[in-house]
Amino acid sequence: MLHRRLLWLLLALVLACAVYMTFAAKGSWSFLLPFRGQKLAALVLVGASLSVATVLFQTITGNRILTPSIMGFDQLFIMIQTVLVFMMGSADYVGLPALLLFALNIGLMSGLGLGLFTLLRRGARGEMMRLVLTGIIFGVFLRSATGFVQRMIDPVEFSVVTVVTYARFNTVDGLLLVLATLVTLPALWAAWRMRARLDVLGLGETVALGLGEPPRRSQSAVLVLICTLVASATALVGPMAAFFGLIVSALAHVITPTERHAILLPSAALTGAVVLVGGQTLLERVLGLATPISVVVEAVGGALFLFLLLKRRRA
């Protein structure tokens, strides 16, 4: 039954992609196909990788409310951009080759992210809840520190930072898309290969250890995957809405109610892609590109999340 639901999700994704590619198509197909195709590929890639990263994160922390972005992971991206603009000025920043900036972002984000988690974990002495709480506080700290630097920047240069700190799919560089795919696909594949181990990790640290799956080592491996997935998606399009991962994982749990990652991972990846492609279609065709996609996701997702919470309470 759950497998059939995965098929339905796949069908929904194909449908959403078809609508996105063909709806209100004016102009020659030789232009539209690669133009929209590239954006579509970015949407699917980002949707899938952020959703899988969230599910991974929720499994190793044993909760359904935390996501990497709540831990301040996206903040890392904004901080890097802010510091770059602050140090080299907006003209030089905008002049940076896209490839260099991408590599810089992905490297710094996963490097700093992993360093951060390692540091936090050492302080937390193996207690995941402590790690998570420290992480949230650290996210607030990063946000404040970034805000401090942003206030010291010239207002004109600040606007440059503001623009890049929202996820945009309107201008996706083809080369970066290929690079991000090359980083993301192996990470997704590695997550898929770990599905049985993830099931065991979801049972909690003691039970996992009893079944021969030492949690600390697996947690490190999963953290590497999470950092890679989020970093490559963020470096490609900018930070997604903080709500996104939360909504998609909650939706995936509703659509495919199971703890088995063999179902949950593809279900989350498909749901994430459907939400993003659908959201972008709505944005481009109905709202006329009036807002960044993250705003649409926040608005629709926030309401949906509230609905899910209330529905669960009544049940």
Binding site: D199, G202, G204, T206, V207, L209, G210, L211
Partner: protein
């Protein structure tokens, strides 16, 4: 056989175990008893490698804790920790099936399914196999965890105070199931118990700990005495012998 050699342990600078040496023979039920803070749970979690062993050695048969890989150990030693809480929303049958994980590591075969079915039948979980763990009673949940440990098909089973929060019927039926596993399947069960009477009634051997040292060990009839209660537990309850079994009159 579980061999504990000169094990000491500190938590946050406070000594918990002092130079403990102990042999737990293969087969039967061995109960660890002692007052609060005597170190019985610590000793068990060191055997179960839930805490890192720093001083001394523990061997399970010829496997040394800390040296042997977790994967290998998981096929010889099953553990049931105190207040096992699973945050994942699982059905009973799914939990029991996880017991086979050390053997198939994610690719269950027909033999694994058969053993899971056997465990479900043996522990009377058939009627509630499709229910979620948070929908059944505490006693039924503990039974599901023991069934999972049974499906793990190990020679050794370590349990940390499994009777907590169970009523008398639940506690007795759990102890009877453990007794069965020791008698019929030849498993070696090591169990931390709070209630001396349960230990005396169901265990073959009792090891009493006091302030991180072994205070007494042997069959219940030899260990559970007025003197033990006075010296180790610091209470003047009397022990009476009923049908050859010591019973603490609380």
């Amino acid at each position: 056989m579980i061999r504990v050699d000169q094990v000491s342990h500190q938590i946050g600078g406070a000594p918990i175990l002092h130079d403990i040496s102990l042999e737990i023979p293969k087969g039967g039920i061995t109960a660890l008893i002692g007052p609060n803070g005597a170190g019985k749970s610590t000793l068990l979690s060191l055997m179960a490698r839930l805490q890192v062993l720093r001083q001394g050695e523990i061997h399970i048969d010829d496997m040394q804790i800390g040296k042997v890989s977790d994967r290998v150990l998981a096929r010889h030693l099953a553990i049931m920790a105190q207040s096992t809480h699973v945050s994942a929303r699982l059905r009973v049958e799914e939990l029991v099936a996880f017991g086979r994980y050390p053997w198939h590591r994610g690719r269950p075969g027909p033999e694994d399914h058969a053993l899971v079915e056997a465990a479900i039948a043996r522990f009377g979980l058939g009627p509630m196999r499709a229910r979620f763990l948070d929908e059944i009673s505490g006693g039924q949940r503990q039974r599901a965890f023991v069934a999972m440990a049974f499906a793990q098909d190990t020679d050794y089973l370590l349990l940390d105070e499994p009777l907590n929060n169970l009523d008398i019927a639940g506690a007795r039926s759990l102890m009877r199931l453990l007794r069965q596993m020791a008698d019929e399947d030849g498993k070696t069960v090591v169990i931390v118990l709070h209630d001396i009477n349960y230990a005396a009634r169901f265990a073959d051997r009792i090891v009493a700990l006091h302030e991180g040292r072994v205070a007494a060990q042997g069959p219940a009839a030899e260990v559970v005495t007025d003197a033990l209660l006075r010296d180790v537990f610091g209470t003047d309850a009397e022990v009476s012998v009923i049908d050859g079994q010591p019973v603490v009159l609380v």
